[in-house]
Symmetry: D2
């Protein structure tokens, strides 16, 4: 039998003295399954993941997980509660501009040392040693007499929980966006299980995001062991799911993404097999360096023409840029934005008014059908 409990974790303190807290829901595993950590809404405007967690709570109540599960909805109160005009200014710290999802910890120098010292240790012992070493570093950082940044207070406390898990899922959304998934390349064969149409396959680099902070140590450890002649699998899976558009909550449609996650969790042995009915989805993928941003070539007001999630041929217009300052003049009143390659638009900017250099779109280029995909 599973037990579920809920608690709040203090992750900061406001100028007024109010504690900043996040809700933490824990299911105790019924058996020996892998442990799972899932969080949502670290970017303040990206609310849809909370609805997915809502469905996962219901699902785990019916289908008890075999490993421990830790769920953190509304993971970033500072980001969620920060408004500027009618929108949530939730992507970066409004004081420093630092992205809330670039402040997790990983010190790569640990890895070689550990590969050396635990070259012949049993897998479980290696894993425990890496978790232990990273935990010590995180605690030391939090205890520094010089202090740490607000974003690190939050990120490091979340990471201490995520660090204990074998599977880490970070639920985001894009601005105006189709659903897409960041897949570490070692786990590409499992990506299709989530049933997400667009997939970006990423390398083992660390730039501060939670998925990277969760898989990079284990991936680099696997590589370091391999260099020493030992085949050690990457012991942790971590994915970032982008569940559509920001500032949009649709609890009914969140169920499909919860079911995709459940299918993935079944494949990893967290959940027992049971029937899951998922919509048929055509799945595409490309590598991270083929996932390209397109910046506006000029200022103007934008009609976003290309539907998200569907292939667009080279030289087909993605957007029309209007120059309403040129009405009734001989100047060009609008121009089309076209690319020299076939693309699938993944997301576009949230505003209709852009200056030169605004990121208008992100697109898959050199994309291919994801292996394992449902559709023939």
């Amino acid at each position: 039998m599973t037990t579920v409990s809920s608690d709040t974790l203090i992750v900061g303190q406001q100028a007024t003295g109010t504690d900043i807290t996040v809700p933490v829901i824990r299911f105790t595993g019924t058996g020996n399954g892998p442990s799972v950590y899932i969080q949502a809404n670290i970017h303040g405007a990206e609310v849809q993941g909370n609805a997915v967690i809502h469905h996962l709570v219901e699902l785990f109540n019916c289908h008890p997980p075999k490993g421990d599960v830790c769920l953190v909805p509304m993971a970033n109160p500072l980001g969620i509660n920060q408004k500027s005009g009618e929108f949530t200014l939730g992507r970066f710290d409004p004081i420093t501009g630092e992205n809330w999802n670039r402040q997790y910890h990983f010190d790569a120098s640990l890895i070689d040392q550990l590969a050396q010292s635990h070259l012949n240790a049993p897998e479980a012992e290696v894993a425990a040693a890496l978790r232990q070493a990273m935990g010590v570093q995180i605690d030391a950082k939090l205890a520094s007499p010089f202090g740490v940044k607000s974003g690190q207070h939050l990120a490091l406390r979340l990471q201490k929980m995520a660090l204990q898990a074998d599977i880490v899922l970070d639920l985001h959304t894009g601005p105006i966006s189709a659903r897409h998934l960041y897949v570490p390349s070692y786990a590409e064969e499992r990506a299709h299980l989530f049933n997400i149409p667009l997939n970006i396959v990423i390398p083992s680099d660390f730039a501060g995001a939670l998925d990277e902070a969760s898989f990079s140590p284990w991936w680099q450890l696997s590589d370091a062991m391999a260099a020493r002649g030992r085949a050690l699998p990457v012991l942790v899976d971590a994915f970032t799911l982008e569940l559509g558009s920001q500032e949009y909550l649709n609890v009914a449609s969140a169920r499909d993404d919860a079911l995709g996650i459940a299918r993935y969790l079944q494949s990893r042995g967290v959940l027992d097999p049971f029937e899951l009915t998922l919509p048929k989805t055509t799945q595409y993928a490309c590598s991270l360096d083929n996932y390209r941003a397109i910046y506006s070539p000029c200022g103007g007001q934008i009609e976003y023409l290309a539907p998200l999630g569907e292939p667009v041929s080279a030289e087909h217009p993605l957007a029309r840029i209007w120059h309403f300052d040129a009405l009734a003049t001989s100047l060009q009143q609008s121009r089309e934005l076209r690319l020299p390659v076939d693309v699938i638009p993944v997301l576009h900017f949230a505003s209709a008014s852009v200056r030169q250099g605004t990121e208008l779109y992100k697109v898959l280029t050199h994309y291919y059908r994801l292996s394992g995909s449902d559709v023939s």
Copy 2:
């Protein structure tokens, strides 16, 4: 024959010394029709009106207006260019919080004086005197040794152009919004011509907006003359059109609103009659005090349930407010927002995360079918 010209008007200066300018397009009238002033985008995120002006330019090129027409797209460069995160922070001056559309001028003390001094003057003379007196006041304000606010530099310079017109249209949008129209009650019989589904009938008060600044002097003059026994019609018509949602540009659909405006202009003698094909639209109206804002009773994340522009019966849910901090607790996880009266939702808030007291919806209550409406 009509002539069209375009120019830029300086409406301010940046800290860096750059002039702040707006485009001004002028059609010279072919005959003795009323003069028209139309502006768009005084709120920086409300771009759709620019596309309507684009269609009006094309339309006036084919169908020359009989009176002079002045068109100002992108009327507020400061608002349009001010971003905060991915959205335009364009509703109020980011320094002071003052709404860009509350800074026009009207000094009601003029009216009684003028009614007295011109009680028996011909209509044209009365009109010229009021325009003259208001122009003098605006110029004096701009020339004050103490200076005027940034918002007034903009508003007063726009108003000097609008002041010359017999018809003033100010093109806006709501946040996430159905199309709606602010109608001064003396002009209610003409409102249906715009073919806008939702209509709010307003009194002669002045709170600083362009429509009010344009009709209030003439309305109050009409009243002051009436009190002295002279029947003087309200000589100026002014409307605020709200053309859907902010941050959204759709040039094709803007054509319908341009045609609605053309139909109204035909009825006023600005355009000669020609065939206009407008979609059939059910039109509702209510008075301003029955146009109600609904503020969130608590904090939470919102599913906006009620479709905009359609009647919702009393006690039918408009929104569901989620408390994802209560997942896996015994606390209430969501609640519905209901109202004790029948309403038509006009617009809703742009973000899914709201604190207690956020304006969630604006709704028509005690609404009725607009007279003259197309639909039987």
Copy 3:
């Protein structure tokens, strides 16, 4: 003997479900003195009043007040905790632009009714009736099925406490500012007691601020009674104190302002007489319509030249406006800002870069020595 207690009052709820609370400190009066309400920091960047309240707590512990005292430091958590860059964006609601100190309640239609119904009632009964009537209105507003704005949730709950007091002090600061005091004209003879150098004498209008919401009902009641032949004094005193510059905390210097308040409270019978040593201060005053804002005549970067709080003769430069875009050109590289009248600069803008129309200074004009002032 006095007793002191502290509590927190819920004034709102965040999107994440966290209650928004303010601290409330209450001293129970030892005798029959007037009751007092003092709050600070309703504008988020204006922190110095909190330090004054700190000193008042210490002072009341030594010198028990005879009437009940209610103290609310950090009265606006939403404003205090809202950062944009390195500064507190605390003057207005970041969603709507509405000033946090313009959302208090007063319905003037109450007054005539009450003057009529209580024309011959004893003073205490009149006062109780007005407090009762206003409390009922505030409760009804808060209970509306349509809800109220975030700023009203805060303001109305604070006002319910302030409404019970005979003396209301609202502690603010300017941007970069000399200390100044807003004085309702009926209380001008008492203003000097606060020992604040610059004083602005205001009429009985209501525009939504706490001081106005506190004195206007009583002032208008006094006038309405007078019109009916009864001499009823204004039963409540209310002042807004501006204690220097925002974003600046100096606890030691706050003591002088606490002593000024104590001297005023002694004069009203809240505190017993005891020796108070206050610095000698030259005190000036002018009426509200002579308290003038000066808006920048152009864009540029500013050297603020005139020391705050000291008389500046007509045509003496207050600031130099630099045009660094004109370096090495034949254009004007800087210009001086001068006024045609003698002034005392009270405050200036917080930034060095201004667009045309930015409020550069506020100044006393047609100022005079405050009566009762210490200095011969």
Copy 4:
């Protein structure tokens, strides 16, 4: 004889179609001296450097430079003109959060290639080749069919000018700050000439700032040549000067910093020797890893106690953090911030209200007297 000219450079375009431009002032060198590039105000609130450029223009008019000089005041119009409340939000792009001074270009892979191909080339030829190669890369970036970011449009166009210079100075300020200088370690012996009290000695890393983008290629080239046995000096000097506090303009005091720059330029042969009278200044330095940020251990309101620029002994309080929510409770009402090491505070945060993790101070630790310093 020198000639001076001024021009404007287009560095972007607003949504409204307005070009974004920066002023560019050029002095033609009288002889064979090194060329110089100096810019100011790339961070929008940091205005004081513009006044230094003003003095340099006057100085160069009297004392013609021997090499070409390019001066760019107000280098970032987007940053300067972006207000949020009464302050300039000028440190990062308000859309993306990216620091305006982290977007310059350097592709380190160029260097090894160039060291190989030009191992025996004359110095001037090597320099020309590196400038040529970097220019080609920058042009290619600007011409990408995918576009570049707004911040890169600005940075790359500025960098194309800076790239031509032998000496690059980037004029900044801190938030509330003492004057300090970032010194590449190879140039430490020249640092004292600027007469700036606090100096931070930095390594050859590249993180996107202009000083790094200017010296890193030449420094790494020198190292790469050294590894191949050729002694090539670092051919470009680049410094970031931090000239006090942001949002503060003092043209008179800017003269001293202009004179410090002149003294440095004399030592490099840009200016002929002439008498310069500089104030005596005690100069300290530490290495970048000893330049430490201190983050607030809790939320609260801050009294900044330690004077900037002066040594503070270990355990001496730097600040007092107040908890005004704890007034009249048994909780701690304030705490002191102390460090376990001797420090010199360089700058502190601009606001008095901070959440946990806000950067309160930056301090020199393990500091030492700068060599060459004036003071005995």
